[in-house]
Every structure is written in C-alpha cells, then in structure tokens.
C-alpha cells in the first residue's frame, strides 16, 4: 500500500473541513424529525441526541389513529395518494399529447403555446394561488379533490411540456417518415413509435408531477378544508393551530409523509437528475 503524501493528506483534510459542516447542516432537521419519531414523549423534550428508550410506539399510534389529531390519518394519506397519482397521470397525458403535437406534428401556433406554457412556469406559484383560489370558487370546485388535481396539473404541465418537447426534438424525423410510409396513421405513430421511444422522459416527468402534487402544501391548504378531504401536509399544518400539539406524533406523521418522495427520488434518481436538472436550466 502506498502511503499518502503530506500534500494529499492536506487536501483531504481541507475537503473534510467542508464536508463535515455540510453533512451536519443537511442532516440536522431531518435527524431531529427522526429522533422525535422514535422517542417517547418524555425523551423527545429532553434535548438528548439519542433517546434512552427508542421506541416505535409513535408509529403504532399514528397507524392506529389513536389520537384525536390523527383520527383521519389513513383517509388523509389516501387522499394524498389519489391526488398525487391523478395529477401525475393527467399531467402526463396532457403534456405528452401537447409535446407530440408541437414537436412531431408541428401544429400551427405550437411555438406560441410553448411560450405561453413557459410563461406559466415562471409565474411564482404563491402569486397564482390567490386568483386560482377565487377561480376554483367560481367553478364550484372548492373542497373537491378535483380543484387540487387540476391546480397541480396546471402547475406541472408547462415544465412537463417543455422537457418533453426538448426530448422529442432529439428523435430523428426519419422514424416518423418510415412509419408513415408503412401506412401508420397519426395515432398509431403516437402510440407505437413516439410513446415507447419517449419512455425515459415520460418516467421522469410522471415522477416529477407526482412528487409535486404529493409535496404541495399551499394550494392544498387553500383549496381543501374538511378533515376527511385534506391531504397529509394540510393535516400536519393543522397540528400547529393547537397549543398542546403532540410534537412527537407530528414528527412521526411528517416522517411517514416524507418517506415516499425520498424513496421515489432514490428509485428514479437516474431519470430524475438527468431529465430534470438538464431541463431546468439550459446552459
């Protein structure tokens, strides 16, 4: 084994000097949440860095809905799942059709629609929330899951269309020509040639839209209010309204709520990082 030179040791030390604070900075709020989730109530408030008696009891309380804050936990969890999946599926359908139309069929005015979509992408979400809340009221959709699903589709679609258009512009034109020569109709071209080739981007965009809807707090909090209709983040926010919030249960619920996106993110990391960061800022 070759011994490292003094210079190499120095470089490594300098890197560690950056790496350790970065690690602490990143992990402290997450670890704190986890610590609360595995601590009994009295340990949670003691300021200890590891509980004397780690327990999974909090999870059991949440799963069995044994606290009045949590009596609708499963229905709220289910609401989050339904809304995220619906928003993901709908975004995917609308954006794939639009990207195919703009990029492959070169529909008149497609470039215009593209620019309008991009414009939406740049409206800060909290600013659109106010008029959107009022509009949903006018449409009679308030307190209806569709309001949140459609709001999420509105917010996710522009970016989805943009990324999918960039990806589909890279597919060679010859593919479309060959398929048309073989007698494929436009819809067959879409279904049998376009969609299969776009699969990696579609996975990335579907995941993006699902995570966006799953993680959304502001719109969910404005558009839904009944205990049996709200999503998990709104339920978590409602804990704050009480003076005697059971923080260890709040953190446990938060931990459960944060797990699916983290898992999905790591499962699709390959697609996400390539597809999303490359699309976010074209350099």
């Amino acid at each position: 084994m070759k011994l490292p030179t003094l210079r190499e040791v120095g470089t490594e030390a300098k890197l560690l000097l950056i790496g350790i604070p970065v690690f602490i900075w990143t992990m402290v709020p997450i670890y704190h949440m986890f610590l609360f989730a595995i601590s009994p109530k009295e340990d949670a408030f003691s300021g200890k860095l590891w509980p004397d008696h780690p327990t999974l009891n909090n999870f059991s309380i949440v799963f069995h809905q044994q606290h009045y804050f949590l009596r609708d936990f499963w229905i709220q969890f289910f609401n989050s799942v339904v809304i995220a999946l619906s928003a993901g599926a709908l975004t995917l359908m609308i954006a794939t059709a639009a990207a195919f139309s703009i990029s492959r069929l070169r529909v008149p005015g497609g470039r215009w629609v593209m620019n309008l979509a991009l414009f939406t992408y740049f409206i800060p979400a909290a600013f659109l929330a106010v008029p959107m809340y009022r509009t949903m009221g006018n449409y009679g959709l308030l307190n209806n899951h569709w309001s949140l699903i459609l709001a999420m589709v509105t917010i996710a679609s522009p970016y989805a269309i943009w990324v999918l258009k960039q990806a589909s512009d890279k597919l060679p034109v010859e593919l479309d020509e060959a398929a048309t020569m073989d007698g494929a109709t436009t819809l067959q071209l879409f279904r049998l040639v376009y969609v299969p080739l776009m699969m990696p981007s579609l996975v990335a965009i579907g995941t993006y839209a699902i995570l966006l809807a799953w993680n959304e707090y502001l719109y969910a909090f404005l558009l839904l209010s009944r205990d049996t209709e709200i999503t998990l983040p709104v339920a978590l926010g409602n804990f704050l309204a009480a003076d005697d919030s059971p923080w260890e249960l709040l953190m446990t619920t938060g931990f459960i709520y944060a797990l699916p996106p983290a898992a999905i993110y790591y499962a699709f990391k390959r697609y996400m990082v390539g597809g999303l960061t490359a699309g976010a800022v074209k350099s």
Binding site: G19, V22, F23, T26, M27, V28, P29, I30, H32, M33, F45, G47, I94, A97, A98, F100, S101, I102, L105, P108, G109, G110, R111, N115, L116, A117, I123, P124, A125, A126, F127, L128, V130, P131, R134, T135, N138, Y139, L150, V153, T154, I161, T186, L187, W214, Y217, L222, P233, L236, L240, G254, Y257, A258, A262, Y265, Y266, T277, A280, V281, S283
Partner: protein
C-alpha cells in the same frame, strides 16, 4: 397573416381547410387539452385577478398598511441576502462536490435530501428546534452555558434570518447540482495547462471557472429570484408571518389578505410585485425559448 413554424420558414396563408393536413388536425386535437387547462386555470384567473385589483383605492390602502411596507422590505432582504448567499454557497459547494472521492459521492446522495423531501415536516422540525423552551438548540445552550438561549422566532429580524436559513437549506442542493453540471462541462485540459503554468487556486477560479460559468450563474440567480418570490413555505411554516406580522414577504402577505377576505388587497399586493417579476420572466423566456 403568416405563421412562423420554426423560425426559418414562413407559410403564406391559403384558406384554413386547404392548409391543414390530417396530422395537423390531430395536432390541434392533441394540443387542445393543454389549451383548455391554460385558458381555465391561467388566463381566466389571472384576468379575473387583475380585474379585481383595478381599484386605485386598494393601492392607497396597501400604501398605508405598515405590514405591506414591512413585507416589501422583507422580500427585498430575502432576495438580496438570501439568493446571493445561497448562490455563492452553491457555487463554492459545486466545486467541492465535483471532486472525485467516494465519500463525497455518498455525501452528495444525502445532500440532496432537503430538496427531495417535502418542506412541511422539515420546516416544522426546524421550528421546533428553535422553540425557546423545549427546542434542542436552547437546551444545548443551557447545558453548556447555564444561560437561556435567545427566543429565536420572537425577534422579527432574527426570525427573518431563520426563514432565509430555511430557504437556503431547502433549495441549496438543487442549485449546487445545477452549477456542478456546469462545472463538469468545463474541459479538464484547461486546468491541467494552468497547473503546468503554476496557476494558484484563485487564479484558476478567476480565469477558467468563473468565465465559463458566469452566464449559467446569472441565469440561475434570476430563476432563483422568480422562485424565491413565490416561496410561501419557508416563511409561513416557520414564523407564520409573525411576530406581529413583521416577517411577512409578498408571497405570504397575499395569502394573509386572502384569509382576511380582503381579496382586492390580496391581488393588489401581488400586482405590486409585477414590476419585479415581469422583467425576470421576459429574460428567462428569451433564454429558454431560443
């Protein structure tokens, strides 16, 4: 009328029926769903909102509301301090994460977590850490100094600084990743040549890294400004705009008026941000759609 399809070809217009081929008819059909969503949930709300914000009286009322003035100042602090700090750290860390080390690769996997997990549980976790009585930070301060720590969220300027910290915590990974992609695209030969010439660390940054990344850095900063203007969570979940409504930013202020049923004030406060947003949007559109 001429319709420009892809910038280089312009088609003079015969009657519509003769101009459209079957694929183009399909094109319109496939584009229609998005257009409907756009009309129903962007055009109509924005138009309706602007119509609600049409009364000059709303702007006079805003002008006289001290909470609005404070929110405007807070927003500027958030943008100037928060974004520049965040982007500078991201630029620095992008160099760190670009190093080829196994442990740095592992660290980068964890580093992405704040961005990957939803804001609400983590921001509430920070909120609890900052609790003056039971929070872990003041518990540790007490353990080591036997003194009570500060009441972090009770002093508006400290609370705003904490909200900026939360914002940086949440969005730093994303920008670091983007800037790292930019850094990795710089040719390695340039650095090797510079090393042969005996260039120092700072010279390499100044003459190679920065010139190659300048445009990307500026674009990222502007895009980050737009998104930060819309960042509701960092402030609302940490301080709720308090104490005494002194930590609001424009994003939370609009929602505050909305909750108070003052819809025209809510819209007017958003319209006040437009002179800041529109030039940014124009610049970003130009950059991304070329």
């Amino acid at each position: 009328m001429a319709i420009t399809l892809s910038g280089d070809q312009a088609i003079a217009s015969p009657p519509l029926s003769a101009r459209l081929t079957t694929p183009q008819v399909w094109g319109i059909v496939l584009l229609a769903p998005y257009l409907l969503v756009f009309l129903a949930f962007v055009v109509y709300p924005v138009g309706y909102g602007l119509w609600l914000a049409r009364h000059p009286a709303s702007y006079v009322a805003l002008y006289h509301d001290p909470i609005f003035a404070r929110a405007a100042v807070n927003t500027l602090i958030f943008l100037l301090v928060g974004i520049n700090l965040k982007m500078a750290i991201a630029l620095f860390l992008s160099g760190f994460f670009a190093q080829q080390r196994t442990w740095i690769k592992w660290l980068s996997v964890l580093f992405i977590l704040p961005w990957a997990v939803p804001s609400i549980p983590t921001i509430l976790s920070v909120r609890f850490m900052l609790n003056p009585e039971w929070g872990v930070i003041n518990q540790l301060i007490f353990k080591f100094t036997a003194e009570d720590g500060p009441n972090w969220l009770n002093d508006p300027s400290v609370a705003l600084a904490m909200a900026i910290g939360v914002h940086i915590w949440k969005s730093l990974p994303f920008w670091t990743l983007i800037l790292m992609t930019g850094r990795l695209a710089i040719s390695h030969d340039l650095y090797e040549a510079a090393e042969v010439d005996g260039a120092s660390w700072s010279q390499k940054f100044r003459y190679i890294t920065w010139p190659s990344m300048q445009t990307l850095y500026i674009t990222c900063t502007l895009l980050s400004m737009i998104w930060t203007l819309g960042d509701f969570n960092s402030v609302y979940l940490l301080t709720g705009g308090g104490p005494a409504d002194l930590t609001h930013v424009l994003a939370t202020l609009g929602i505050r008026y909305l909750r108070l049923d003052q819809l025209s004030l809510a819209m007017a406060s958003i319209v006040c941000a437009l002179p800041l947003v529109l030039p940014l949007v124009y610049f970003m559109m130009k950059r991304l759609s070329r």
